[in-house]
């Protein structure tokens, strides 16, 4: 998946009304809560067959860090 496509998808995953950018700090998102993290887990599992755990979210700072969790599945 292209990075630009994922950024559009991310708006829907988080149910966010504003656009998402690679360098955005996740903690600045009002929507960055437990519901969003579960939705990210569901999305990564469904789309990329990647299993995430809450530990994976602990060190995330930016959207780019989140993208990196998908490895080469998002380019």
């Amino acid at each position: 998946m292209k990075k630009s496509d994922f950024l559009v998808e991310l708006e829907d995953i988080l149910q966010r009304e504003e656009s998402c950018n690679e360098t955005d700090n996740l903690e600045d998102y009002e929507e960055w809560d437990s519901l969003s993290k579960m939705s990210i887990m569901a999305y990564y599992d469904k789309k990329f067959n990647i299993k995430l755990s809450l530990k994976d979210f602990k060190d995330l700072v930016t959207v780019n860090d989140l993208i990196a969790l998908a490895g080469d599945k998002i380019q």
């Binding site: 809560d33 437990s34 579960m38 887990m41 599992d45 469904k46 299993k51 995430l52």
Partner: protein, 377 residues
Amino acid sequence: MANIILRNVKTRGIKTIIPEKYIDIDDELEFFENNPKKIARAKKMVGYGRRYIANENTTVVDLAVYAAEELFSEMNYNRQDIDLLIFVNQKPDYPEPCDACVAHGRLNLNKICTSIDINLGCSGYIHALMTAHTYLSTGMYKKCLILAGDLCGRSCTQSDRKSAPVFGDAASATILEYVENGNVAYFVTGTDGKGWNKIIRPFGGMRIPIDEKILTTKTQNSIGNEVPLIEPIIKGEDVFNFTMDIVPKLIDDIIEFAGLTSGDIDLFAIHQANKQIVENIVDKAQIPKDKAPTETFFKYANNSTNSVVTVLCDSLKDNNIKKVLLCAFGVGLSWGAAIIDIDGIYNGGISSYIEPKDKSSVKEQIDFWIKYIKGEE
């Protein structure tokens, strides 16, 4: 996983009963910072809607016995013919005796009836169904009543936003009979006991009996809600990953085991853990979306043990459904799937419990038991 074929059993009737009282997520603005947009977001993401909650005076046995009475009456069924009663529940009326014996007495069933409990939650109905089929298929038992339910809704503190919006209460009655036409049912079940602590209420059993400290202590859960220690603990992310590891494959396995394709199944009754989880299962297992209801969660929430029965009772009306795949998973960790033919089944649907006017309060019951101990009752 255990793969089992059992013959000569037919499911004759089902009925689900829900408590009278309910909570709508739209009425819980205070938990969403008084922001309706946040409620709309949660509804879209997880599917939150209405959940029915039993009052402190109502138990699974009350709801399930009510369901059985209604079902007997609606089907004009002779209860004296029932020779097997299976009660599946994780919130029993008493530490002892088992719910099946209490229900047997309240329903005035025949003394020749074997009555047993199964202590399982979300996957419990599949195990009860498999147990009923196992007994009946021998031909030694002829008529079985399954009573199923849970009170996860009543058990949650409403300020626990991890669990409270997810769970609602319900119980059901199912009647099955031995038949001689060779009717075939398929079951696949499994357990991962290494995950025993992923969904748990640690206090109140013999391991850690409840004392005053446990009753009065509160702590913060992982999303910052202050919750009592007696609250159920759910490791959501672990349970989600377990579900996605096991359940889509479970569905594939049972369809293959039965020599069918997903096109042969008329209805997929999947445990309504929440909308997001059911939709992920449907996608991963490549099930036709129109045959796998997800809206039952919005209408009744996660009914734990009764969840798949709630789906059946909610979906069978006005539909010509013959072959059903039931699939449930959760606390244990435990899972199961069944493929059964339900053509000709009586569906009593979902009705509301009406509390008897003369029902004793909890305080009155405590006073009764004190007299009972004294030998005055």
